[in-house]
Subunit: 285 residues, 4 copies
């Protein structure tokens, strides 16, 4: 008799009485053991959200349990996304020349903080090739210029498809992905924007912040969508600045914010703690 693979499910759908009882009852009756369960209700919209993590009875096949639960959720009228800490997601890191988020994520990954398979570093520049290779990570240089962008994106999509990538992280990639790219990839893309969105969307946010004289700078991790800097926000944080800080100081302080915010968002995503709902996220932390 062997220990079964644990499951994590993110559920949401129209609220109705007894949902907590039904879900926990279903798991309990089949001999499962709930490790964590957290739920939320949007009372205005009448929507129920749940994250539930459980170990099924010994010798249960993951695929069978997943399939059964999905059917059960469907009968409840709920949308379910199912994963497992035992099934590591395959991640591609898109970078440009800035290396702070790149090093930070990789070192956290090596320290076991970010549970995934890091299968590719993709860049439009050669700058981080040798650092990637020193970390033992495959590096793919796919140049991008306005003229060849469609071809470059096609090459990127081929690579993601070949490597069976589940998640793309834009770790200061500095390029806008086209609608076509997002639609074709059809998976989550996490971006880090170097401002407290919705303030200072678009280019050169630290210059904008300096110009406006704000007293706090921020960083925002969000899912990329077709509208620039407008996708569902996963995490944000800020740091205090003063009139003594020039743009270069904002950029330097901002790097720490960007690293922390992006790493937190990626970890939450990989642990199946983020449920996207319209233009917003529910975070089960």
């Amino acid at each position: 008799m062997s220990e079964a693979t644990p499951l994590v499910c993110l559920l949401h759908g129209p609220d109705q009485p007894g949902l907590v009882a039904k879900v926990s009852g279903w798991i309990f009756e089949r001999g499962g053991n709930i490790l964590h369960a957290d739920q939320h209700r949007d009372l205005e919209a009448g929507v129920f959200f749940q994250r539930v993590e459980w170990t099924p009875a010994a010798d249960t096949e993951f695929a069978a349990e997943e399939e059964s639960f999905r059917k059960f959720a469907q009968e409840l009228g709920m949308h379910a996304t199912i994963g497992s800490p035992a099934r590591r997601q395959r991640v591609a890191l898109f970078v440009s020349k800035a290396d702070h988020c790149f090093h930070d994520l990789i070192l956290r990954w090596k320290a076991g903080e970010i549970p995934c398979e890091l299968v590719a570093v993709v860049s439009n520049h050669e700058a981080l090739r040798s650092a990637s290779e020193r970390y033992g990570l495959p590096f793919y240089h796919i140049p991008v210029t306005p003229e060849i962008k469609p071809a470059a994106e096609a090459a990127q999509l081929d690579l993601l498809s070949d490597l069976e990538v589940n998640l793309v992280i834009l770790a200061r990639y500095m390029q806008v992905l086209s609608d076509e790219f997002l639609t074709t990839f059809n998976g989550p893309v996490i971006n880090i924007h170097h401002s407290f969105l919705p303030a200072f969307a678009g280019g050169r946010p630290y210059h904008q912040a300096h110009e406006r004289g704000v007293k706090l700078i921020g960083a925002t991790a969000h899912y990329a969508t077709a509208v620039l800097d407008d996708g569902p926000i996963i995490q944000q944080d800020v740091a205090r600045v003063t009139h003594r800080h020039g743009v270069a100081d904002l950029i330097r302080h901002g790097r720490d914010l960007e690293k922390m915010v992006l790493a937190r968002a990626v970890r939450w995503h990989l642990e199946h703690r983020v449920l996207v709902y319209g233009r917003k996220t529910v975070i089960f932390d």
Copy 2:
């Protein structure tokens, strides 16, 4: 058919499989509707904690539902504390001369942020009598000196008993309550200590902090116990200070921390969000 009074229960006891299913099943089968449920497991100690808030079926009597649930919890081997947002707790505010937490709590109470009956302001000084009366609150002056402390505490206990007080808040009361007082009152007493405990326990914490040259000052709200400044911590916060701050500046900045931290702790307590467990608290926020 009338809307039933909602219940909030704080449960804890030895962990066992199926607890979430059993509790939610019990409520659902009786026609109740869970509004919120949150649980926690201490994996090392094997203890399960839950806060569950539900509306029973229409026409259910609060006392009957409370009694039934208590029996059910007992059968599960769990300890249960049951309250209701509809049954407001009776609170006594103990103050001395400092008035910042006093005004802050009363103004929040008037704004509806602190759901309770404020039945008494008790003080060892006359300083806040007129302010209390302007707020329409009964003020009780019970002088305390080392010689008459036992008699003073007896008078306080009589008052708390007469007024059927459920919660005492020490809003910068500046007197240590004796073991006998705490044992006889036998209810929760929330204190605000003006440091980041366990640093700077005891007297004159801002002077201690200034002397040590710390870069952050703090405040801690905790349940009072027989050991001074050692009870279970409910909430803490800190603020940044510099070498430019003298003791008077620390005191001034600290007032804001004390107000915020105490108000947050009191609100959580009154909403049945705080479960005391050994020397620690579980906060279902």
Copy 3:
């Protein structure tokens, strides 16, 4: 021989070598004693900023010293604003129905945290009359509707002029002041906006923030200018929120931010720590 009145000067103008030496030398040679001096250079713009606080030699007349210093500053090509902790500014508080900033500022003022003469509470509603009067503060009800706004503003301006008001604080006043008002008053007006500007300028910022799904809410104290929510920012702060917070929770949490941020800005202003420079502020804290 009597102790002279201390002076605080805010200086700014084109940078040039020796400014610190010249200013401190001028004070020292006349027998003055510098209590605090802080300076800043905007290297890009070539502008020098200084706050200097000093006690002149005994028996020096404040007005004479002020006049001499102003001339000296002019010779250096600097713009100077001069005040004194001993000359308390006259402040009018503009309120509407929301009372949290109102109570907070007045209680801080009574506690000595906000050094000024509070000469009037002005409101377009009667709601805070009795509270004002209980605090011993004169209350002026000047109704404002779109039709009578010009007349209402004229009445406000007459009042400010009669009372020799130096500073207007909009403590959640909820009305936009016209250009004409600002031009005629010709003095500082501090407003508290309930968002992290420039995000969510305009109306109902907490609703906007909830809609966008941000993970932090903010408050911003700034000088009012002709362009709504666009004046120089004095202070900002944020608080963390989650998907569990509805708009009402954001409003409640926001009240604490608004109180803290406005009080800090007002204190800095009254202590002559804020130098407005273009669309930005230099804060000598």
Copy 4:
């Protein structure tokens, strides 16, 4: 005519009228240009503190200007420490097996955030040899056990002397340095302690914090002195934790605090912004 090397001086001594004027006058008269000047007075103790950064007249020799200023300061009765951004300090990093502060400091150093010469990584374990060498940094393995500690410290001191090290950073070194070591080295040693000192001094602070049930964990960077965890504090910060965090979570969250706090302290030290004064520090940031 060549651009002169800028100087930074940290001054302190008995307060007296005219110090700001005298120091700035001395620099101005010799054709120097003050870039930054910041001062502080401890009014209780009657001590004056100043940090002043200036470029001397062209063609001035650094050593000559340093010598002249030192004499001038002596005549004022002030203690002066003089450095220059142009004269990079020589730093040794002491590490054990934990690598988060190690990577963080080195990556910041490579990014230009930490202006110094990193001349040695010293460790009692081989664990970080290959990582050090990949960064191009010389690694020295000096094993330490209770029996051979005196010999090990002698070897460390020889190395520091040979390499002309000005600053030792204990980046989670996990060994207590003896009094003899500190006395012989006779230079600054910056340590990072993984708690909010003075809370949880000594060993296993995260275990202590978990046991006590605090709601915030902290990290403290301080100068090492003969009394463990008692030296002058340079920087501190905290992060919020909940009952859901086990010791392993505190350790993980704590790593981010430790990195940020140590990096900030090291940068301030290397920029001559930290003036040690008794058991405290004055930070000119």
